[in-house]
């Protein structure tokens, strides 16, 4: 973990709502999201630290009437994409898969009911971890952060149609992965 140095900002550049007041309530969620992306504690800490440093530095340019959560998540996500792990993960993103597509229908005898019965969180966690990063991030922003499609689009800098298609593919991939796990494949 690299050394943390206190950041200094001229007083006249500090907006009325301080960065600390807006950013610290999101700390746990940002860390959780960072860990899901990096799959590594130290890398997650580095990512969060760099995100806060960048966000504080650029806070004077943040428009108060805009969405702070989407703004700081976008910083974290862009920072991740330029990290070693992020670059490696982005290379696995398949091309030409972000177009509109018809959702694959879930077959009968679904794994969801079995999951609920077994309350097996580890299975779900393992399935999420196996998702490609570009599907994992959109699923987490929707289900965990409960962001609207518009917020997700803003955070990931992608069109809303792409958000919807990625979400659909993420859910189908997750379902398929769970089915295989339950069957012991």
């Amino acid at each position: 973990m690299s050394q943390v140095y206190p950041m200094e900002v001229p007083e006249d550049r500090v907006p009325a709502a301080t960065f600390e007041e807006l950013a610290m309530p999101l700390f746990d969620q940002l860390y959780n999201f960072a860990h899901w992306l990096t799959q590594n504690r130290e890398e997650a800490e580095d990512l969060v630290q760099e995100t806060y440093a960048k966000a504080l530095k650029g806070f004077s340019s943040f428009q108060p009437e805009t969405n702070f959560r989407a703004w700081i998540y976008r910083i974290l996500r862009n920072t991740f994409l330029t990290s070693r792990t992020g670059l490696k993960a982005s290379m696995t993103v398949p091309l030409n898969t972000d177009g509109e597509e018809t959702a694959i229908l879930a077959p009968a005898n679904t794994p969801e009911a079995i999951l609920i019965e077994r309350s097996n969180q580890q299975l779900v966690q393992g399935a999420i971890e196996q998702l490609p990063v570009h599907l994992r991030e959109v699923l987490l922003l929707c289900e965990v952060e409960e962001m609207s499609y518009k917020e997700i689009a803003e955070t990931l800098s992608i069109p809303m149609g792409t958000v919807m298609s990625r979400l659909s593919r993420a859910r189908n991939a997750l379902r398929e992965s769970l089915r295989r796990k339950i069957k012991g494949e």
Partner: protein, 252 residues
């Protein structure tokens, strides 16, 4: 709308992202279509399972939280430091300005007094009766002041000098009574004014070397509670010599 056509919209429906009118329609459909109702339930269960598994899956350590908290605590260093520096500079300038003003004012008042004494000197010499007691004998001139001024003084013996005592008269400076003595050196007349030091303004409390004012040379000093002014058109050396004689006489 048949159930199959609704299926692709179920996720969007559960995410609450369909337009209000479509949401209402789908609500009604799900109540009447067992297949879609089961599918909605399945997708809802998966949604809940993801939320339960992924939310708060990873928690930051307290140490890491503290580190970040410290790192974003804004230090108001530059403004604070510059603020104090500015304040100190302004304070220093104000003090310097006040001192300059005070010194300047004191100098101005001293010069005003010298101008007034130079006027008195000129007026005296221009008068047909410049002195009220005419005598070159100091033992005649000094007693003449008894009862006229509230103090006494000593006058120098001039036997071995170039100076001659012409006489004396009462003088007033700022409503303070004092003695004016006229001396002569060669063709030059010199006035010596003597006042009680405490009766004069504090602006005159600084002794000066011989200084030139309105073409007159002047010198002032304080001795034994008396303030002396020597004013005349004689050379600075003469003013200085007479001053020395007066100082010596006062000490004796």
């Amino acid at each position: 709308m048949p159930g199959d056509e609704w299926q692709p919209k179920l996720d969007t429906y559960l995410d609450g992202e369909l337009p209000t009118e479509v949401m209402r329609e789908l609500d009604a459909h799900v109540r009447s279509c067992p297949s879609c109702a089961a599918e909605v339930l399945n997708r809802l269960q998966l949604k809940r399972a993801v939320q339960a598994s992924a939310a708060k899956r990873y928690l930051p350590t307290a140490e890491f939280r503290e580190r970040i908290q410290k790192s974003i605590t804004i230090r108001r260093r530059p403004a604070f430091r510059w603020g104090w520096l500015t304040a100190a500079t302004v304070a220093a300038l104000l003090i310097a300005g006040a001192l300059t003003f005070y010194v300047g004012l004191q100098k101005l008042r001293r010069e005003q007094v010298f101008s007034e004494l130079a006027d008195l000197h000129v007026t005296t010499l221009a008068s047909p009766t410049p002195v009220d007691v005419v005598s070159s004998d100091r033992h005649t001139v000094k007693p003449w002041f008894q009862g006229k001024i509230p103090f006494t003084f000593n006058l120098p013996e001039l036997k071995d000098s170039e100076f001659v005592l012409v006489g004396g008269r009462a003088a007033y400076l700022g409503q303070t009574p004092g003695a004016q003595l006229i001396y002569q050196v060669r063709k030059h007349q010199i006035s010596v004014f003597i006042f009680q030091d405490r009766a004069l303004s504090r602006d005159l409390s600084t002794d000066t070397p011989v200084m030139r004012k309105l073409s007159f040379n002047a010198k002032t000093w304080s001795q034994d509670g008396l303030r002396y002014f020597v004013v005349g058109d004689a050379a600075p050396e003469d003013i200085q010599s007479l001053s020395q004689l007066l100082k010596k006489a006062e000490r004796s």
